[in-house]
Symmetry: C2
Subunit: 348 residues, 2 copies
Amino acid sequence: MPVFSDGELRDVGTRLLRACGAPEAEAALVASELVDASLMGLDSHGVARYPGYVDMALDGTVKPGAPVTVVRETQGTAVVDCGGNFGMVGGRKMVELVAAKARGPGIACVVSVHCNHVGRLGGYPQRLAEQGLFGFATVNSARPGHWVTPWGGREGRLATNPLAWAAPAEGHPVVMDMSTSMISEGKIRILMHEGKPVPEGSLLDAAGAPTTEPMGFYGPPRGTILPFGSPRLGYKGFGLSLLVEILGSTLAGVPLDEPGQTAAYVNGLFLLAIDPDAFGGRERFRGLLAELFAYVSSSPPAPGTDGVVLPGALDFSTAEKRRRDGIPVAEETWRLIVEAGRKAGVSL
Amino acid sequence: MPVFSDGELRDVGTRLLRACGAPEAEAALVASELVDASLMGLDSHGVARYPGYVDMALDGTVKPGAPVTVVRETQGTAVVDCGGNFGMVGGRKMVELVAAKARGPGIACVVSVHCNHVGRLGGYPQRLAEQGLFGFATVNSARPGHWVTPWGGREGRLATNPLAWAAPAEGHPVVMDMSTSMISEGKIRILMHEGKPVPEGSLLDAAGAPTTEPMGFYGPPRGTILPFGSPRLGYKGFGLSLLVEILGSTLAGVPLDEPGQTAAYVNGLFLLAIDPDAFGGRERFRGLLAELFAYVSSSPPAPGTDGVVLPGALDFSTAEKRRRDGIPVAEETWRLIVEAGRKAGVSL
C-alpha cells in the first residue's frame, strides 16, 4: 500500500481542488480537513473523498468560492447559508461565529443551510474545545442519505446522523464523535469488499428481516441500517437520530424535500458552544474536567479489554503515529485520486 | 393489586409531604410530578418514591421550603442553587427561568447545584416543548450513584446519566427520555424480585466478568452496569454518559466530592431551551416537525414489531389509560407508603 506524508497529501488535495476552481485558501482548508481525518485513521472521511469532491466541483454540485453568509441571527443564534460551497468552508466559519457569539450570552448555537459534506464531525467541537469552550455538534443528511430505519420500521427515514462533543483537556481535547446508527455505510462497504459479514443486529434486508450480509443491505432491493442500540434498545438510537435531524434541519426551517438538497451529502450542521466563563470560569472548568477524566480512567480494566480509553484518545494517537510514519492509502483509492487528477487537469 | 385514581395519589402525596414540613404548593408540586410518572407507567419514578421522600425530609437530607436562588447568571445562562429542597421544586423554577432566558438570545441553558432527585427527566423538556420551544435536558448523580462503569473498566464511575429532549407536536410533545446505560438500577431490582435474569451484555460482576444475575451486580462485592451499546459499542454510551456528567456537574463548577453532595439522589440538572422564533419561527417549526414525524412514522413495520412508535407516545397512551382506569400500586409499595404516613403522622 503506498504511504504518503500528510504534507504530500495536503498538497495533492490543494492542487486538485484549486484545479476545480476553489480559491487557494479554500482548497487548502478542505484538503487539510480531509488529511486530518486520514491522519486520525478515519479513512472513510479522509483523502478517499478527494475523487468525489473533484467530481462534485466539476459537475457544479459543489460551488467552490461561493460566499458563506449569515441569513438570520440573534445574539445567541444564527442561520448560516453555506452557499453550496464545500461543507468545511461553511463549517469552519460557523465555528468562528458560534465561538464569538457564546462569549456574549454564555451559550450560542448556529445551524447551516445549503451545506455540503462537512467531513469529520468531531473536528468542529474540537476547535471549540481548543479555545476553552465546551462544544457540541450534530449533522444530518438529506433524504437520499436516509439509510437508517426508525426503530420498528423497515424502510430508511434517517441518515447515520452523528453527534459529537468536545471538552478541553491536557494535550488534545476529549472528543466524542459517534453515529446514532449501528454501523456506518462506509464500514458496510469495507466489510463487503473484504467478504466479511456485518455484525449481528446491524442490518435489515428489504423485507425487514435481520441480515449480516452486506448485500442484504445494498440489494437491490435496498435494506436498512438499524438505529444504535438495536435490536433490543434501538429506540434510544432512534431518539438520538431524531434529535440530530431536528437540530440539523427542522430548526433551521429546512423541509424534508427542499429543492436543491437532492444529493446524499447535503448536510445540516448544528453547532453549539458554551462558555465556561459564564459558569465557574475556564480555569475551574479545565481543572474539574481533568479530575473527572482521571477519575473515570481509574476504573481498573475489565478482563479482555485494554481498559478505559477516553473518547478520541485513540484517534489522536493514530494521528501522531501517522504524522511520523506516513499515511497508508489503499491502492484503489490512490488510483481513483490520480484519475480525479486527470479529470481536473492535474498530473499526480 | 390496589388501584387508585391519580387524584387520590396526588392527595396522599400532598398530605405526606405537608406533614414533613413542605409548604402546600411545594407538596402539591412534588406529589403531582411523581403521580405524573406513575400515570405514564414509569413506576420506578412514581409514587413508589413517596416513602423515600418522606424519610429524606424527616432526616433533613431534603429541606422542604428551602429557597431556590440564582447564584450566577448571564443573559443566556444561570447557575441555580436548589437549596437542598425537593429536586422538582428547583427543577420547575429552572424550566421557567430557561424558557424566559431563551426568548432573548434565542438559546439558553441553566444548571443546578444542591439539587435533589429531580424525578422523571423527560418532564422538563416536555414543559419547554409545551411552550413551543425545543427542550433538552441531562441529569447526573453524585458519586454514591456511580454504578455504571466506563467502557473497558470494571468499577463504577458514572451514574445511569439520562438525557432527554422534547419537541412540539399535535396533542402531546414528542419526548425522548433515555438512560445512557444498558439498564437502570430500578429495573435490575425488579428482575431480582421476579427471579429473572438481566439481559445479556448489561452487567459485569465485581471481577469484571459478564453476568446476567442481578446478584452479580448487587454483590457483595458490587458489580457494575455497562454503558449503553455494550458490549460491542459501549464506547458510545460511555461518551454520552460523560457528556451528561460534564453538563450536569463539571460545567456548574461542582467537584466530584463536593461536601454535602453525599446522597445517591443528589442530581446535577442541565436544561437547554432553543426558541424557534430565532430561526424559522414557531409555526414553521411546528409544521416541519409534524412533517418529519409523519415521514419517520411512515416506515412500514418490520416483521415481529408493532411498527414505528414516536418517542414518548407509549407513555402518553399509558397515562390516558391510567387516568381513566386508575393507577395500580404494588401491595408492598402501598404498605411502605402507609408506613411512611405513620412516620410522618398521617393516617392513610
